[in-house]
């Protein structure tokens, strides 16, 4: 597609439910990132996929969070047993290859509200 696409754009879920957030990167982009942004705050790194390398999961805040990526295409971020503190905007980004100065392109984010 023309840009990074994320779905859903908004999601309201009850505490304790599982949610899945989807990211479609720009075609041909090998690197994919997930970030979390709480209201009015900066971007918190969650996970990074680069080609066939093992993903960098060092930013995942707990074992309730997981992410997968199919080849060099779609990625899904899953949050199990959601908590109110999980409420945030989840941003996905992609870039043509390992960073090395390449611009990363962001989607518009998925706004998650846990009630």
């Amino acid at each position: 597609g023309a840009g990074v696409s994320q779905s859903p754009s908004n999601k309201v879920t009850e505490k304790g439910k599982d949610v899945e957030l989807r990211c479609d990167p720009i075609s041909g982009h090998t690197a994919l990132y997930w970030y979390r942004q709480s209201l009015g705050q900066g971007l918190e790194f969650l996970i990074y996929f680069q080609g066939n390398s093992a993903p960098d999961k060092s930013g995942l805040p707990s074992d309730r969070f997981s992410a997968e990526r199919t080849g060099e295409s779609v990625s899904t971020l899953t949050i199990q047993r959601t908590q109110q503190e999980d409420s945030a905007v989840y941003l996905c980004a992609s870039s043509p290859e390992a960073l090395s100065g390449n611009t990363i392109y962001f989607g518009e984010g998925s706004w998650l509200t846990v009630v």
Binding site: Y33, Y35, G40, Q41, G42, L43, F45, Y48, Q50, D56, G59, V89, L91, A93, A98, L99, S100, G101, T103, I104, F106, E108, G109
Partner: protein
């Protein structure tokens, strides 16, 4: 550990005036890139400008320019002739290692006063 620090949570500038947003970082790498991203109320992150550390010349994109001081590990963004559309959160960003994930500062919210 590599870090990015933006010490100004909020700033205001009069329309048509010039404003400078600060960013400092810490790294042991010698060759790297630095970025400024803008996030308007629409939430869409947009690249404003990037700087290659091995280049002496400061990057410039129209009204946006940087003051890159490698020895001081400082990377400030100057916005000239500020416009109402410049109102946004501005994030300084930096890759942890040359081919690694990018980390962001906490951001500076810029208000443009008409």
């Amino acid at each position: 550990a590599q870090t990015v620090t933006q010490s100004q949570p909020e700033m205001s500038v009069q329309e048509a005036e010039t404003v400078t947003l600060s960013c400092t970082y810490d790294t042991s790498e010698s060759d790297y890139y630095l970025f400024w991203y803008k996030q308007p109320p629409s939430r869409q992150m947009i690249l404003v400008i990037r700087q290659e550390a091995y280049k002496q010349q400061n990057a410039t994109e129209n009204r946006f320019s940087v003051n890159f001081q490698k020895a001081a590990k400082s990377f400030s963004l100057k916005i000239s002739d500020s416009q109402l559309g410049d109102a946004a959160m501005y994030f300084c960003a930096f890759p942890m290692n040359r081919d690694d994930k990018i980390i962001f500062g906490k951001g500076t919210r810029l208000h443009i006063l008409p």
